[in-house]
């Protein structure tokens, strides 16, 4: 089995690692780099808890091979806060009680960020479509949509 030397650009930092080609980005983030904000759920691309941004677009890190994302800009939930200050979407989630167990939260927030970057004032329907790839097993959707609406106004 042959490992490959790769460099990944995550949250503005460059990581040089040695990986087997069948390692997913999710495994590398959590197990090799200790970036455990990204969660593992179904691992089949259905649930969205492993969502990260790839060149600004939400994708499933469980379905991406790490060797396949060399040279791309990866953003995980750890990359949102700046100088110890939470991102406005993170604050809006806290203020609106849009977190119950919290397992879907990193993916929800990253999908919301991609949505608001592209469409700064989405309608509720656009928010629902934008977050349709992220499941919340606590079913706290209404508060999540409210938090995203509030973040859009900031």
């Amino acid at each position: 089995m042959r490992k490959q030397e790769i460099q990944l650009e995550i949250n503005g930092n460059t990581y040089s690692i040695s990986v087997l080609p069948q390692r997913t980005l999710l495994e590398v983030l959590r197990e090799d780099l200790g970036l455990i904000g990204t969660k593992e759920g179904c691992s089949e691309g259905e649930c969205g808890v492993c969502t990260v941004l790839l060149d600004g677009f939400p994708v499933r890190s469980c379905l991406l091979l790490a060797v396949d994302v060399r040279g791309r800009k990866i953003t995980t939930i750890e990359g949102l806060s700046k100088n110890g200050e939470l991102h406005p979407i993170q604050n809006a989630f806290i203020e609106h009680g849009a977190i119950q167990c919290g397992f879907c939260t990193p993916g929800m927030i990253l999908s919301a960020k991609a949505l608001l970057d592209e469409n700064p004032s989405p309608t509720e329907e656009e928010i629902r479509i934008g977050l349709s790839g992220n499941l919340c097993r606590c079913t706290g959707y209404v508060k999540i949509f409210k938090a995203v609406q509030a973040a859009a106004l900031r």
């Binding site: 080609p21 691309g45 939400p58 991406l64 999908s111």
Partner: protein
């Protein structure tokens, strides 16, 4: 996931040479379907050849004579947002908008969608209705295959081990054309229970000059309603013509029962949805 060697080819020629020398190799496009199969050890390639390192496979081009030419590495998102697709064959954008969720549309590619050959996939009915052709290449040369002949069985296509899809060609539609893709799903954008795409073109007198109907989810492959042309061409389309095509769609369907729906239900629904799709297509064609 079992071990495989990861390969980044320089160009198409390099890819074809590599595939002809390594029978167990598989190509990787977006990975949205393939990585799930790899994880479950449903496929165990010796090598994974990443097509994303080759430039020029993600273009969308238009010319008046040839129509639309779409590179296989366009993601569903790219198809959905392409001004050329929206202008010249909006039903393809309509189909793309009904595939899964944004993160999957940001990963999955149209070429991967076709080569995965899921019989309920959303692009094939639309491409069948549009009369699309696929350009396949290997180290031995190239061939052009009409899309309805591309699919062989559940998850099986005519592609040989060393062959790859390099272009989707969609001929230009006449000016007064209308079409739609209607999908019946359990929750929005989940896998199609039945998907029906149709296109109708009319001349100035309202006579049908082109018709195409494609079906998904009602057989081991996506299906083309071949007789739609015979029934509709040269006619001023009336309710009874639409009914005949819908009955024909039902007749050629041979669905299975699975967790999403029974075969009987799919067979009923393909009749209903074909009627709806044709009526909507006609309405849109008349507006042009």
């Amino acid at each position: 996931m079992r071990y495989f060697e990861y390969v980044e080819p320089k160009d198409l020629n390099d890819t074809c040479q590599f595939l002809s020398r390594n029978e167990g190799a598989k190509v990787l496009a977006g990975g949205a379907s393939l990585v799930v199969l790899l994880k479950n050890n449903l496929v165990s390639p010796s090598h994974l050849v990443n097509l994303k390192t080759i430039s020029g496979l993600d273009t969308i081009r238009w010319d008046d004579r040839e129509g639309l030419r779409i590179g296989p590495l366009n993601r569903h998102r790219d198809i959905l947002s392409s001004p050329l697709v929206q202008k010249y064959c909006s039903i393809l954008a309509e189909a793309a908008s009904k595939i899964a969720t944004p993160p999957i549309r940001n990963m999955g590619t149209i070429g991967g969608n076709l080569c995965h050959a899921e019989p309920s996939a959303d692009f094939p009915p639309a491409l069948i209705a549009l009369g699309a052709k696929l350009k396949l290449i290997s180290s031995k040369g190239e061939r052009i295959v009409p899309i309805e002949e591309f699919f062989v069985d559940f998850y099986e296509t005519v592609l040989s081990e060393s062959e790859i899809l390099v272009e989707i060609k969609i001929p230009p539609l006449p000016p007064r054309s209308g079409g739609t893709y209607i999908k019946l799903d359990k929750v929005t954008n989940s896998i199609a229970i039945v998907g029906v795409a149709s296109i109708i073109s009319l001349d100035e007198k309202g006579i049908c000059t082109f018709a195409g109907v494609g079906l998904g989810g009602v057989g081991s492959t996506p299906l083309k309603v071949e007789k739609a042309k015979e029934i509709l061409l040269g006619k001023k389309i009336e309710e009874n013509h639409i009914d005949q095509v819908a009955k024909e769609a039902q007749f050629i369907s041979n669905p299975i029962t699975n967790v999403y729906a029974s075969a009987e239900y799919r067979k009923e629904m393909v009749y209903v949805l074909t009627q709806r799709a044709l009526k909507e297509s006609l309405k849109r064609a008349l507006k042009r």
